[in-house]
């Protein structure tokens, strides 16, 4: 969960995933855990009842995740349309960098997973490429690294 004040963006796919996860937690996992807590409480007192403690902890985690998802869904901006004339959030971008071809989708902070080819719009690469066109050579620069990314193609993700 991103705790910064940066605006977060979600793709439609991610919104659907989060809604599905929330439904599952609310309708399946939470009631399941509540049942286990009730059973553990009935088995003995609350003191030295390790099962009860474990289930309570797990319920806490479920509730915390539900809160996070709700917050994400209510505070994030959903990417509604993809413009392929310039690099925009939600686009798949094909680039060439230092002789290597690379493909990734630019997404919001909470959806970023570089290992899955999803990079955040506030990462050095994401930030620099936003708004650029096909054929453009873009300088991606950080405090210590600078290199040129050439945009080969922009697609709808």
């Amino acid at each position: 969960m991103n705790k910064t004040k940066t605006t977060n963006y979600l793709t439609h796919v991610r919104v659907k995933e989060l809604e599905k996860e929330l439904e599952y937690l609310k309708n399946v996992k939470h009631p399941e855990m509540a049942k286990l807590i009730k059973q553990a409480r009935e088995l003995g007192g609350l003191e030295d009842n390790s099962e009860y403690d474990i289930y309570m902890d797990q319920q806490g985690l479920i509730e915390s995740r539900m809160r996070d998802i709700k917050l994400l869904l209510t505070t994030s901006t959903v990417i509604t349309k993809n413009n392929t004339k310039v690099v925009s959030l939600g686009n798949r971008v094909i680039v060439e960098v230092e002789g290597r071809k690379d493909t990734f989708v630019i997404v919001g902070v909470d959806e970023a997973a570089p290992h899955k080819g999803k990079i955040s719009h506030i990462s050095p690469v994401g930030k620099s490429l936003l708004g650029c066109k096909v054929g453009q050579e873009v300088l991606v620069e950080t405090e210590v690294y600078s290199t040129i990314y050439k945009i080969i193609d922009i697609e709808n993700a």
Partner: protein, 446 residues
């Protein structure tokens, strides 16, 4: 004759050894020492011939075929292969007897199957079977892992590869794997994704990441006769066709890293660098990352024909590329993440520290492995562009931004050499940057 390096870390890591394994530790220790003795005998006796030039000629003209697990002997004016099982008959019998004592009490499963295949191999000379089983053995297969077979090590100048026995007993550094298991895997996947796909293995790994069988270990016992034992990290198999078929196994030796940090790697930073604000933890992490990436790049960038083109320079170019192309891959990966500059700087510093730490430990030619040329060459390259400066009081002044730019340039050189370079081109590059003066001045070596 080379000396046996035997590393016994039991006192350091005895609490990590499961109770089920403890009674067998003396047997494991004997086994490892016995295999190191075999290796020692092998290195001096691989080719028992009177005219080595004639042998080379006959091998090159395909009049005589070199065997994988055999030594070459002369008989009645011609050459013959003697299988290891015959050449080391007595030693192998002892090894089999020790293995038997461990195997009989092992629970059924992949580790027992592997150990049984080892037992068979020490009798029938088919070491490929346990080798394959070992590559596929997953970190959770058993409480410890034994390595005890001949592998391809590239120090042999005659036929480029020989079978050198490697031996170690290790326990998994569970705390390293368990902490943020998912993010650890994702980080490695991110690195793999950022390496251009050159090899069949890489395409297969992209489909199934478990084909890179990665583990971080503490070594309890290890032994060998070449100078890089104990290892920092390893990837096997080295042969392209085996790696393509089986996948690649990567081991990071956390015990060696911890020892290096304890024995002066970090204090070296304080002593030789003008400005270094990196913490011990940052250097430790950067060193582990460097090793991960080095081994992943080495495993995935095995090119057909590279050995033939680069000949004597192949091991040097391979290590050069694994380090430099690897670091550059990591730096490009960092550009896609949000927390990056400090990690990038730590990478550059760690490369310089590794170079000087290596030279400090291996400044005499007989102790050098295939790593030394790249460390000397890259350091001189950095000096030539002034991303690294030698101060009046013989300290090193690093300009991280300029050095990172150099690493990008050097990675083009290293990958071009590996993919299409010749022996002459590689030699020319290493010779151009072969001056060792800066190392001697900074480390105060005569």
């Amino acid at each position: 004759m080379p000396d046996i390096h035997f590393e016994d870390n039991l006192e350091l890591y005895k609490d990590l050894v499961p109770a089920s394994v403890k009674p067998y530790l003396p047997i494991y220790k004997d086994l490892i020492y016995k295999v190191a003795e075999v290796q020692k005998k092998l290195l001096g006796n691989m080719y028992r011939v009177t005219d080595i030039d004639d042998l080379v000629k006959k091998v090159e003209n395909k009049q005589f075929k070199v065997g994988r697990y055999a030594v070459i002997e002369e008989e009645d004016g011609s050459y013959k292969l003697t299988r290891f099982t015959d050449f080391f008959e007595t030693e192998f019998e002892q090894i089999r007897s020790l293995l038997e004592k461990i195997i009989k009490d092992l629970p059924e499963g992949p580790y027992k199957e592997y150990m049984e295949s080892l037992y068979i191999a020490y009798g029938n000379n088919n070491f490929l079977d346990p080798y394959k089983k070992w590559v596929l053995l997953k970190p959770d297969a058993y409480d410890v892992e034994l390595m005890l077979f001949p592998v391809e090590v590239e120090f042999d100048k005659l036929f480029n590869t020989i079978n050198s026995f490697d031996a170690s007993l290790r326990v998994l550094a569970k705390e390293f794997i368990d902490t943020g298991k998912e993010s650890y895997k994702n980080y490695l996947l991110g690195i793999v994704k950022n390496i251009p796909r050159f090899s069949e293995l890489h395409y297969k790994v992209a489909e199934d990441f478990s084909r890179l069988n990665i583990r971080v270990d503490y070594s309890i016992y290890s032994a060998g006769v070449h100078c890089i034992v104990p290892y920092y990290s390893q990837n096997l198999p080295a042969e392209r066709n085996f790696a393509t078929e089986w996948g690649s196994k990567i081991i990071i030796y956390k015990s060696t890293i911890d020892k290096a940090l304890h024995n002066g790697f970090y204090s070296l930073a304080k002593n030789i660098l003008v400005d270094n604000n990196l913490t011990r933890e940052q250097i430790s992490k950067a060193l582990i990352h460097k090793l991960y990436i080095h081994e992943i790049v080495e495993a995935l960038m095995i090119f057909a024909g590279a050995r033939r083109r680069l000949k004597s320079q192949h091991p040097f170019v391979r290590e050069f590329n694994s380090d430099i192309f690897g670091i550059n891959t990591y730096l490009l990966y960092l550009l896609k993440t949000e927390d990056n500059s400090k990690k990038a700087v730590a990478s550059a510093y760690t490369y310089v520290l590794s170079a000087f730490n290596y030279y400090k430990r291996n400044h005499t030619p007989e102790t050098r492995s295939s790593h030394y040329k790249q460390y000397i060459a890259c350091t001189n390259y950095f000096l030539s562009t002034r991303s690294l400066k030698l101060t009046k009081n013989n300290k090193l002044d690093v300009d991280p931004k300029a050095m990172i730019k150099d690493i990008s340039e050097l990675s083009k050189i290293s990958s071009n050499l590996l993919m299409e370079g010749t022996e002459e081109q590689a030699k020319e590059f290493f010779d151009k940057y072969s001056d060792e003066t800066v190392f001697k001045k900074v480390l105060n070596i005569d």
